[in-house]
Structure formats: C-alpha cells, structure tokens
C-alpha cells in the first residue's frame, strides 16, 4: 500500500491503526511516557498530536488527543506523555493499566499549524503550562537532534517541583546546548522547595516581559497549556507588541479528560465517533 504522498498531490485520509507499546516510563507521579512502534508511520512534525481510541467490551468508545513528545527523528517510534486525570475516561487506563506488549489504537499525525521545523527559524519562545510541555518538548528534542542553533527560551509553569515533567532531561539539554542557546525558566505556582530560585507565581505579563525576546528579533512563540493559561500568555505577548501571527497556541481543557494529558485538545466525542 502506498502511504507516502508526493508534494503537490493529495494525501490520504486519516485512518485508525494499531501501535505496539514498546516501553513506558514514569515522568512524575501522575505522568507517564508511552513509547509505541507504529507500522507504516508516515512521519510527523514537532508539535503534532495523535488521537487515541479505547473500545470497551460493550462497544463503547472513548477518543482523546495526545501530543507527541518524541522528535520526528525517532520515527517509526513515537512517544506520548500522558498525565492522569482521576475522573478521566482514558488517561487512568493509559497511565495505570497499559503494559509493554499491549496494542493501542491511534491515528495521526494530526496538525499542520502548531508545528515547528528547524527551518522555521527563531528565536523561539516556548511557554508551557503543566503537561502543555509535551508538544514543546518534541520541538526542543528535535532542535537538539538536528543541531539547530535557533536561540530558544522555555518558560515552564508547574504546580510543584515534583510535577515538573522532563526536569532532568531539560537540565541536561541546557547543559549540552552550550552557547547555542537553550534557556529554561521555571515557575512553581503551588509550592516551592527550600532554596528555590525560580519564579513562584502564575505566569503574568511581567514574567513574560522578563523572559521574552526583543521584538526586533521577530520571535516565534508557541504556547501550550490549559485554556486560561494560554489566553493569559497570548494576551500578554500581544500586549508586549509580539506579532499575533507569530504566536501559536494550543489549548486544552481544565475539566475535559484530554486536558490533563498534554493533549492538543479534546477530541470530539466519546462514543459519538465510530471512526472507520
């Protein structure tokens, strides 16, 4: 079956396929990374997501979106990072039940808007709230993997130190980036460890002004997090004079299941979509 479209030709419609769970890894007490091998994966771009579909024995289906955390260079393996929402329909299964060797139904990659490629240039301003770090991590990892020297700053808001996803890997990436410029600023909104030197409040205009690139460098911004977080960050950047067209946002819901998941948003309907 021909799966790769040629430039200038139409692509293919999205279809559901099965991925094999190769590995899982606990990132925080509530967040787990799941690495899948997906046969015929057509490749993705940093920032894209997949839809995951679970089917119960009685046929009931629930569908949610999850951002891809791994860089495109790792295809045909992809890694998702899922944060558990206790009252969710999908994330408790993915975080607590899923095991290596299981199969998972998914479709993707999805999204042609909230994506970064090395030739998108920079400087890059990445703003993450909670599991909103996931698609931005794909960008940071891809940047490192292809040796991009686009100057990049990440402002990352978490509730507590323990809930910082990818904390050690980010430290390592900053160290490795040397003078090519990856900077990470954390803010902890709920509790801070003794001796914490980062920010300790919710993201606001003042914080963004301190972290943001000068306007004349025409920065490209990606913001991902819960809806109110994204609205605050985007409005603040516009207030600083950032070009709205160079601010890309990805919201997820504070109440919806997909919200907690680093997801790129609620997929339409549990049970309402029969898919194929």
């Amino acid at each position: 079956m021909e799966r790769r479209a040629l430039p200038g030709r139409l692509g293919e419609r999205l279809v559901w396929q099965l991925g094999d769970v190769l590995a899982t890894r606990e990132e925080t007490p509530r967040a787990k990374s799941i690495t899948l091998a997906v046969p015929n994966w057509r490749g993705h771009r940093a920032g894209q997501h997949v839809d995951i579909r679970l089917t119960a024995e009685d046929g009931y289906q629930a569908e949610r979106s999850y951002s891809i955390a791994s860089p495109p260079v790792e295809a045909p393996h992809i890694t998702l990072t899922v944060e558990r929402l206790d009252d969710g329909e999908v994330s408790p299964y993915l975080v607590d039940e899923l095991r290596v060797g299981d199969k998972l139904e998914l479709r993707g990659p999805i999204g042609g808007y909230f994506v970064w490629e090395a030739n998108s240039g920079g400087p890059l301003l990445l703003v993450a709230g909670g599991s909103g770090i996931v698609p931005l991590m794909a960008m940071i990892r891809q940047r490192a993997a292809v040796g991009s020297n686009a100057p990049t700053r990440l402002l990352y808001s978490s509730r507590t130190f323990e809930e910082i996803i990818y904390r050690e890997e980010l430290e390592q990436l900053v160290t490795n980036s040397g003078s090519t410029g990856l900077e990470v600023k954390h803010t902890l909104t709920r509790a801070q460890p003794v001796g914490w030197t980062g920010y300790h409040r919710r993201i606001d205009g003042e914080m963004l002004r301190e972290v943001a690139w000068p306007l004349e460098e025409r920065p490209l911004s990606f913001i991902c997090g819960p809806t109110p977080f994204v609205e605050t960050a985007a409005a603040s950047l516009v207030g600083l004079g950032y070009e709205p067209a160079r601010i890309k946002t990805e919201r997820f819901g504070p109440t919806g299941e997909s919200g907690a998941s680093g997801a790129s948003g609620a997929s339409a309907v549990p049970g309402g979509h029969d898919g194929e």
């Binding site: 057509r42 771009r45 309402g272």
Partner: protein, 91 residues
C-alpha cells in the same frame, strides 16, 4: 461551560473527511473577513459535534456532525477556503 480549544483539536475529524492536513488550510470569515489557519480558529467540541468559530469576531465558520454513517458540514460562515497543494498530510 463549554471549553474553548484551538482548531488544531478538530484535526482528527477533519482528517477523516479530507485527504489533506486541514488545520493548515486558510479560511475566510463571512462575518468580519478575517483569514486564519483552521488550526488557529476557536474550537468547541462536544457530544453533538464540533463548532469552529472565528478567533476575531466569534462568527461560526464550520459545524461538523458525524451521525448515522454520514458527515454533515455546515460551512455557511466560511467565505473562502484555501488549501495549498503543499498541505498534504505526508511529509
């Protein structure tokens, strides 16, 4: 309250229907004339279907309902849809 998402979140259902990456397509609002990528629209997704609104004026651009084996697209709010030949899903 319905949660506001980005048009990006509708990429899955649009990808069921269209053979290209629709979140990168540009759409012009009948209400105010603003042109945006579908991925940048405001999206409201719930059991009845998906509603995509203009981020500038909140006018409804596209409604999508999938029921009884059919997709229903109400696109009365969209004046022009621009789909680039480059906007194929595969890279």
């Amino acid at each position: 309250m319905e949660n506001k998402l980005d048009g990006n979140a509708a990429g899955g259902v649009l990808g069921e229907i269209f053979p290209f990456e629709m979140t990168a397509a540009q759409i012009t609002c009948v209400g105010c004339g603003a042109t945006n990528a579908i991925g940048a629209l405001a999206a409201y997704m719930h059991g009845m279907g998906t509603v995509l609104r203009c981020p500038a004026c909140d006018h409804v651009l596209i409604r999508i309902v999938h029921a009884n084996g059919r997709y229903f697209l109400d696109m009365r709010g969209a004046r022009v849809l621009q789909i680039s030949e480059e906007t194929v899903q595969a890279q």
